[in-house]
Amino acid sequence: MTAIATVQNHIKFTFPAMSENESLARTVVAAFVMSLDPMLDELNDLKTAVSEAVTNAIIHGYDERNSGMIDLEAELDGRTVFIRITDYGRGIHDLWQARQPMYTSKPDLERPGMGFTMMEHLMDEVTVQSVAGRGTTIGLRKTISPVDMRWH
């Protein structure tokens, strides 16, 4: 396979923090990375991590009030995908606690407290920036395997 020029692309879209938009967000990201010809497993990892981050914004950022907006930015640099999901809700007061496996601030809602664990397991890197009362940005990074290096 001949070397191709480094892909540089980015998108940004904004949508209301409604649960209906969880599938929209992960579908858009899946479509965005299609040019890299990802393996099904890699695609599902990205879709799941995006779903976790958007769900986090809806439930914890905005307390499921169906108000507020979520920004989703995705960027390709070569075969690495960078995703940023930002809400302008109430922010996370204790980031360390929020990232602990099985911790949930909403046990009554049947939340297993696995969102961050899942993202960390599926992505190469997960970053969280949060300011109380201002909002939260979750950053996801994952490098898609080169097509000519795969076992078929």
């Binding site: 969880e22 799941t48 779903s51 769900t55 809806i58 664990t117 899942m118």
Partner: protein, 117 residues
């Protein structure tokens, strides 16, 4: 694909089939019919068929764990059967297989539950 749920009854066991994508949005659609059926008290055990489930995230894990806890508190068993590679991976990361047995088919699940019926 939007989430769909199918309920079947066989030998006093409730067989629940999840289809499509089970995320936070679909969680209520998955939870409510199961809760309604189970609260009638006619079934002790549940087989959860996942071979037509395309997508799951931690919200979906919450739905399964919730039903597991409900059944366990009443002496009931939950068995998972049939899942694609993505669903298996997410369930594996969640650690749910430490609590809930997974088998390949409904007949396998039935024979696993036979001793408890």
């Amino acid at each position: 694909m939007a989430f769909q749920l199918q309920l079947d009854v066989k030998d006093q066991i409730l067989i629940v089939t999840f289809c499509g994508e089970l995320d936070h949005h679909a969680a209520a659609e998955a939870r409510q019919p199961m809760e309604a059926f189970l609260s009638e008290g006619r079934f002790r055990h549940v087989i959860l068929v996942l071979n037509r489930l395309d997508f799951i995230d931690s919200s979906g894990i919450g739905v399964i764990l919730g039903r597991y806890k409900w059944l366990a508190a009443r002496g009931g068993k939950l068995v998972i059967c049939g899942m694609n590679a993505h669903v298996r991976k997410i369930l594996d990361v969640s650690g749910i297989f430490k609590l809930i047995p997974a088998v390949n088919s409904v007949p396998d699940a039935m024979s696993l539950l036979e001793v408890f019926v």
